[in-house]
């Protein structure tokens, strides 16, 4: 898949890579041209620039990387990491929500339940998956799948990638808030190991609902926040154009979250972001997930529940108080 969808802060990289392409085009028309040296120079310059840029991305730039359309999505991870994936559908109350996908599969040799948000990768699939913004049915399906995982003693792996739960009339009508609350509650009482990976955007309650896990991992340039930078800017600054400031103020990067003990591990991304090394990042995520699951094996159902509950009870508590 092409990665030629440059972000605004990658302009110089785009120019350099454009020049390389131009040279190659010229050389293919004229076989007497020797472009090897020039191409190598340009490529090394562009690689250095990319490395330097991505080493110091600011929170707003990370937000853009986290939302990059070519970043691997749920379906890509499933194709790469899960054998015998068998999607399961429906909440058994009202309908099926395509923004949250889930099912059974074999991950690194063992049977698991996988749940996650899917944003889609072209216009028709984006519409089908509602851009990864789930309805109550999605969360109720997640609860159903977690119930099943518990019944058959299967670990749960969740992949988080949503701007947030969908804000619409139908969603409210059918109890979006209650559905999210119940799903979070189910995560907390689950008697099997649960590992979550924030692969792109972790948007508010819509993310928490399936990310309240024993171990939460984050890709290096993914984000996890209480509200989108745009939403925060329009409420607190009364100006959506202040998204950059809001992104910085909210501390939504993987690095910030690790510092505040909200997550357990950062999974490094290839230079230039997950979309420039899709297979490498999916493999790294797979390795990190199996390691996290293995670290939980041997814990009883009660110990797993207690670990999760103690972890979340401590979030925001000053050490030493009751």
């Amino acid at each position: 898949m092409s990665t030629h969808s440059y972000l605004d802060f990658e302009k110089q990289v785009a120019e350099l890579e454009g020049k390389v392409q131009e040279l190659r085009q010229l050389a293919s028309d004229d076989s007497t041209m020797d472009i090897a040296d020039e191409v190598q120079k340009l490529e090394s310059k562009s690689a250095t620039l990319l490395r330097e840029t991505y080493a110091k991305l600011n929170p707003w730039q990370k937000t853009q990387v986290a939302r990059h359309p070519y970043r691997p999505h749920f379906k890509d991870y499933i194709d790469r990491l899960v054998e015998d994936f068998t999607p399961l559908a429906g909440d058994r109350y009202y309908g099926d929500d395509e923004a949250i996908q889930g099912g059974l599969g074999r991950f690194k040799g063992r049977s698991v339940v996988v749940i996650g948000h899917e944003k889609g990768n072209d216009t028709s699939s984006r519409l089908k998956h509602n851009f990864g913004m789930a309805m109550p049915e999605g969360y109720r399906k997640a609860v159903r799948l977690m119930d099943m995982a518990e019944r058959f003693d299967l670990p749960v792996l969740s992949l988080i990638d949503t701007a947030g739960a969908y804000p619409g009339i139908g969603a409210e009508e059918r109890g979006q808030a209650e559905a999210i609350a119940r799903s979070t509650e189910k995560c907390l009482t689950l008697g099997v190991p649960m590992v979550s990976i924030i692969i792109g955007e972790g948007g508010s309650g819509g993310a928490v609902a399936i990310a309240t896990a024993n171990k939460v991992l984050m890709l290096e340039h993914s984000i996890y926040s209480v509200i989108s930078p745009e939403g925060c800017a329009s409420i607190l600054w009364r100006d959506p154009a202040k998204s950059k400031e809001a992104a910085a103020a909210m501390k939504l990067t993987a690095q910030d979250l690790l510092e505040h003990n909200i997550i357990d591990l950062i999974i490094p991304e290839p230079i230039g972001g997950a979309h420039r090394g899709r297979e490498a990042v999916m493999d790294a995520a797979g390795d990190a997930a199996i390691e996290a699951l293995q670290s939980l094996s041997g814990l009883s159902a009660d110990e797993l529940r207690r670990q999760r509950q103690d972890k979340y009870l401590a979030m925001g508590r000053v050490a030493g108080t009751a």
């Binding site: 739960a165 969908y166 804000p167 619409g168 009339i169 969603a171 409210e172 009508e173 059918r174 109890g175 979006q176 808030a177 209650e178 999210i180 609350a181 119940r182 979070t184 509650e185 995560c187 907390l188 009482t189 508010s204 309650g205 928490v208 609902a209 309240t212 996890y224 926040s225 209480v226 509200i227 939403g231 925060c232 409420i235 607190l236 600054w237 009364r238 400031e245 809001a246 103020a249 909210m250 501390k251 939504l252 910030d256 979250l257 505040h260 909200i262 509950q309 979340y312 009870l313 979030m315 925001g316 508590r317 000053v318 108080t321 009751a322």
Partner: protein, 325 residues
């Protein structure tokens, strides 16, 4: 550790005096325009006598009107780290916090109170919209955990009055983490077999509804209260159409099966009292070791049937419906 800080006794006379200023003598109902004399409005618990519009009730007025004799103990909750993200928008978070503390005299958006309701022990957690829109941050999370623990220790139900614009954005991800955290608190209450009653008041929106405020054993809403996950403005911007009348109001929630009942403020105390009595008596069933003299000769199955019928009567949905109307 003793968390009890102050015992609140009603001082009705000073309450009146404080507000006896000329400009505060008359209040105009925002819904019907009726001019209401302030004492009448206070006496009516801020419900418009002519159209029944429920206005926002100050936090401590609500507590006074709920507890026996208007008296209760306030329970302190632990301090949290102030502004760990060093957050600044147009104002510093620490300044906003200071202003809210000065305005309310409280340390954050929750008040925990313990006392009796018709001689039954209860713990109440009340979310104060006056304090930064009742926003859910670490302190509110701490308060809910504390209130649930207090209820578990005292073996009493927890009644939670929700009022909030949502998560406290100035605490970023730490405020989001209060969703699972408060859910754990509710879980502990449920593990202890104690009732958790939620009263949704105007307005309750955002992350608050996606956690503790929607997990009650019984969900009550005040008439007209706006309750929803996404705010109406956000929805309108997303779908680009006008929202239907009454959308996300208490009655709408009742119609869509999201709350058990919509209860007029004047009926609220009696309703809560009855629910507490019914739910706490249910716990007694397990303690019946020997059958009472009369059914002794009845076959066991019949005794069970009798108990089952009694339980059904106790939770007769028609009784709840009456209260709602």
């Amino acid at each position: 550790m003793n968390w009890l800080t102050k015992i609140v006794r009603p001082k009705i006379s000073t309450l009146w005096k404080k507000r006896d200023t000329a400009e505060n003598l008359w209040h105009k109902c925002a819904q019907c325009g009726e001019m209401i004399f302030h004492r009448d409005l206070e006496a009516a618990q801020k419900v418009c006598p002519s159209c029944q519009h429920h206005m926002r009730l100050p936090a401590r007025d609500r507590l006074q009107s709920l507890f026996d004799g208007g008296s209760y103990d306030e329970v302190e909750y632990p301090d949290v780290q102030i502004d760990p993200l060093n957050f600044k928008d147009e104002k510093k978070y620490t300044d906003r916090l200071k202003a809210a503390r000065n305005k309310t005299g409280d340390k954050d958006a929750f008040i925990i109170a313990a006392g009796t309701l018709d001689a039954q022990s209860i713990v109440v957690a009340l979310q104060n919209f006056e304090f930064m829109g009742g926003s859910l941050g670490m302190a509110a999370g701490e308060a809910i955990v504390r209130a649930a623990d207090e209820a578990v220790t005292r073996k009493t139900p927890l009644i939670l009055f929700a009022a909030s614009g949502g998560a406290r954005m100035q605490e970023g991800i730490l405020s989001l983490m209060q969703l699972p955290r408060t859910t754990v608190a509710v879980q502990r209450l449920k593990d202890a077999g104690l009732p958790y009653l939620v009263v949704l008041t105007d307005p309750t929106t955002g992350g608050v509804t996606a956690s503790y405020a929607m997990l009650g054993d019984i969900q009550i809403a005040e008439p007209g209260a706006l309750v929803g996950f996404a705010g109406p403005r956000v929805i309108e911007q997303t779908i680009r159409e006008k929202l239907p009348d009454g959308f996300q109001r208490a009655e709408y929630l009742k119609d869509h099966g999201m709350v058990d009942m919509v209860v007029h403020r004047h009926e609220l105390r009696a309703t809560l009292s009855r629910l507490v009595r019914l739910l706490m008596e249910k716990g007694m069933a397990a303690q019946i070791t020997a059958p009472v003299s009369e059914p002794a000769q009845l076959p066991v199955t019949q005794v069970q049937t009798t108990l089952a019928v009694a339980a059904n009567e106790d939770t007769d949905p028609r009784a709840e419906k009456d209260a709602a109307e």
